[in-house]
Symmetry: D2
Subunit: 150 residues, 4 copies
């Protein structure tokens, strides 16, 4: 599934979850805008909060012996983000199979779409060995944390 990345919708209303991010000056670069690598931890932060909002805090999941390893990321940068722009990362579960899950994201800065992204994750145990996607996690792709239909 990792190869057939979904196209993240460009309408915030399609996403069930919205997470505000504060741009840090340290995240800007000498082109005067936020460096492209800085978005990646924003996506991660939104993902952690989305799972927590569904009752699965990072600590609980991790202490239960499960980690979500990132197996693929794809980000399309559509507009520069500036220091001071209010940023909201919209996120939703896009798909789940036996082996991976996918989330989609829309980064909105100062009211404009700045980037869209997809991340794909495999489940691993504390030693990094692959695990099947547990039922509760797969179910999130079909519930209130899922991307909304167009």
């Amino acid at each position: 599934m990792a190869r057939a990345l979904i196209d993240p919708p460009l309408e915030p209303a399609r996403y069930p979850f919205a997470h505000p991010v504060r741009v840090r000056f340290a995240e800007t670069d000498a082109m005067g805008v936020v460096h492209h690598a800085a978005y990646i931890p924003w996506l991660e932060e939104a993902r952690v909060e989305l799972l927590a909002s569904a009752g699965h805090s990072y600590a609980e999941v991790h202490d239960g012996g499960l980690d979500l390893a990132v197996v693929e990321i794809q980000v399309r940068y559509r507009r520069a983000v500036r220091f001071g722009d209010p940023v909201v990362v919209h996120a939703g579960m896009a798909a789940a199979s036996r082996s991976v899950i996918q989330l989609a994201y829309l980064v909105v800065a100062a009211g404009e779409v700045a980037a869209s992204a997809v991340t794909t994750h495999a489940c691993v145990d504390p030693q990094g060995r692959p695990l099947r996607v547990p039922d509760w996690l797969g179910a999130l792709a079909a519930g209130p944390t899922a991307l909304r239909p167009a």
Copy 2:
């Protein structure tokens, strides 16, 4: 073109350029391996060095009024990288059109393929306005900096 991302070859010999990277402890995370966001600056560093190796240093290009804005990144993580692993980023120009260029990368850690990646870039002026890809840059996709045929 950004939509039709190429599949980066998995053989280092297909890449014309190899750039060694030293993993920083600060780049690891609490899973004990390098955090996925840390690879992005490695790709950038390899890209800058590849262009410099072709006679186009960042300073010269930038002072000539051209910046390469990142419009898309795609990274597939295939194997964890650990602190202490010697890392080499293999890189090559994958494609060029009037409006964008693409580069492919293979991250090899401790002798094993750890990740593959593609980045897509648009040319912009110092104010961030789009420019056509200049001839010298497009030509790099067909010369010694290009990915080698299988």
Copy 3:
């Protein structure tokens, strides 16, 4: 003054300003706790917000031709911070002279003092040339943004 760094008070009540920070997983390291370098942008974020709370947003100050260059930082790490810990950065203006200002910080994680810090800043123009500390900025070291007496 940069040589005579003040000792940041260890009581949150001595600080006029409190800024919550969300720990990012990307900020942890392979020792399982937040990497020491990650605190530095937290201090910066608190500093920017403290100035904004006093009516001097970064954009306004910057557009007025003034930047605050960091000339010294000192951080004492007292206790590890873990992913998931709620973090609050307490901050206050500690001193001001003609040439520099100093701020003090107390990083509190999960209710415990995790670090204390001092940063010293010089005023510079957009070309990085030194400027005198303007009156409005020096005055902040004696008003509601100043550290409170013991």
Copy 4:
């Protein structure tokens, strides 16, 4: 000892170890120079390499049950570093007691002193509990890895 931080010498010749660093574009900020937080991982990288040069690789030390926790950092920024500047971090052991060690650093960029720094470290076991500084580590403050007399 953490309170009586030494003054790092400003002459590179006083340092026994020199470690080249490549500035990453991601390390610059919107002021057009390297962000002050980016120096901290450079110091760490030089520290790791200094210990490795003395026969104590990170892996060996860590696998032996010892980690060096950072308990204090102090950095004085003397000159901006720009992308493209060749950077060398000079480093040396400055002091050792039963409970902590200190290292001094001089960051030289494009041939000019850009920053000086001191870091203080405590020894901890894998659970983060304090350990006495082992003899081999204390001895480094008096041998070829020590700062040289003026």
